[in-house]
Subunit: 199 residues, 2 copies
DNA sequence: CAATAAATTGAACGCTGTTCAATTATTAGT
DNA sequence: ACTAATAATTGAACAGCGTTCAATTTATTG
């Protein structure tokens, strides 16, 4: 029996979360089970339920952390250069997104493949994390929509969703590769070039 | 015991598939279980496995049918008018997509949320169905890329993925509604207008 | 040192996909 | 018509899942 003084409650929570992310990244989020986590960290399944109300809640927390990590890359200086044109910053930001998804594929897939059970709805703190994702792109677009904040918001959400769609299609590999090796980047470039030119 | 002459093998397969679609659309694809299907059609769980190699295979077939149905709406005359401008046809096509997703939400969600287990990869017949989805949009775009078939393909895939992303974001409701009631259509319009203007 | 509180456990419940020997229904051959 | 072969159907069984909870162990407090 694991002694309760081995870890504080928060340490244990962190241990569970980190172990979960490892499992997800290695074997996919479908492989994440309470018994597996417990086995790895040397506790019993019941302990997971002392730390988290349910596996769903744990998944939601992990998804929140994934969004935080993604958000961080979108705020990276590499795609927020003061001297660069909006189009160049946007392309860099799209690249950041594509790279993040590629490097954290399973974690990122889980973000969209995972569905809360019937009845349960997404908590506010999670929705806020999602909403925060649009800010960086909106910031870049602002100079292009000087006098129309509404149009700026619409454009930011349109572009963000579009890049997400391109990323999704690329990651799931459901698109025949006719474009070349880096089709994701080719598509985001085409998207951004045409969109900006059309403003 | 259900008599084997109640239905032919193909009838039974169709019965399983239709029942599955009903369950998915009513309670979500997570609610689809072999025992539930069997109970509804009056057979035992084992019979499902006489008709389909696994639940995964059944899901794949259903996903294929969903793609077929989606493909059909994209070939609808409503978004392939001979007199209309490419932009108008594209907007109509995007609308068809958005409407299809809205009216077949669970079925459509399953298309993306469902993931084949470790090792198994998507069969060719399924990949071909997915590839066929791009043809209608490519057809519309052709007149805009008279002398560059390659650029046309890239644009078609870019736009398709973008519209999908917009649809996904709208359906999953993970985007704060700041645009208005029909944000999906507002976004696809913005996307297409800007994109076409930028060509 | 005793009493209280908290953490940990592991068996149990009902669910899942899946397998398979046994049973039943149908067809083919004589 | 009767038998033999074939095919369909069943339902128990297995391993795994999320989850619950009484019992046990550990730590803290009075």
């Amino acid at each position: 029996m694991a002694r309760r003084s081995d870890h504080t409650r928060d340490e244990l929570r962190g241990l569970v979360i980190n172990t979960s992310i490892d499992i997800i990244q290695t074997d996919g989020f479908q492989a994440l089970t309470a018994r597996k986590i417990a086995g790895i960290i040397g506790y019993s399944p019941g302990t997971i339920y002392n730390l988290f109300p349910s596996m769903d809640a744990l998944c939601l927390i992990i998804n929140g952390m994934t969004i935080d990590a993604l958000n961080e890359t979108l705020n990276d200086p590499a795609c927020n250069k003061v001297g660069a044109s909006p189009a160049d910053n946007m392309k860099a930001m799209a690249r950041q997104y594509l790279d993040f998804a590629a490097q954290n594929k399973e974690r990122w897939m889980m973000l969209f493949a995972y569905k809360l059970p019937e009845g349960e709805d997404v908590p506010v703190w999670f929705q806020e994390k999602v909403a925060a994702l649009f800010a960086p792109l909106e910031r870049i677009l602002t100079p292009l929509y000087k006098n129309d904040a509404k149009a700026c918001k619409l454009a930011a959400r349109t572009l963000w969703a579009s890049v997400h769609g391109i990323c999704f299609v690329e990651q799931t590999g459901k698109m025949p590769i006719v474009i070349g090796s880096s089709s994701g980047e080719a598509m985001t470039s085409t998207l951004i070039d045409n969109f900006v030119a059309g403003i």
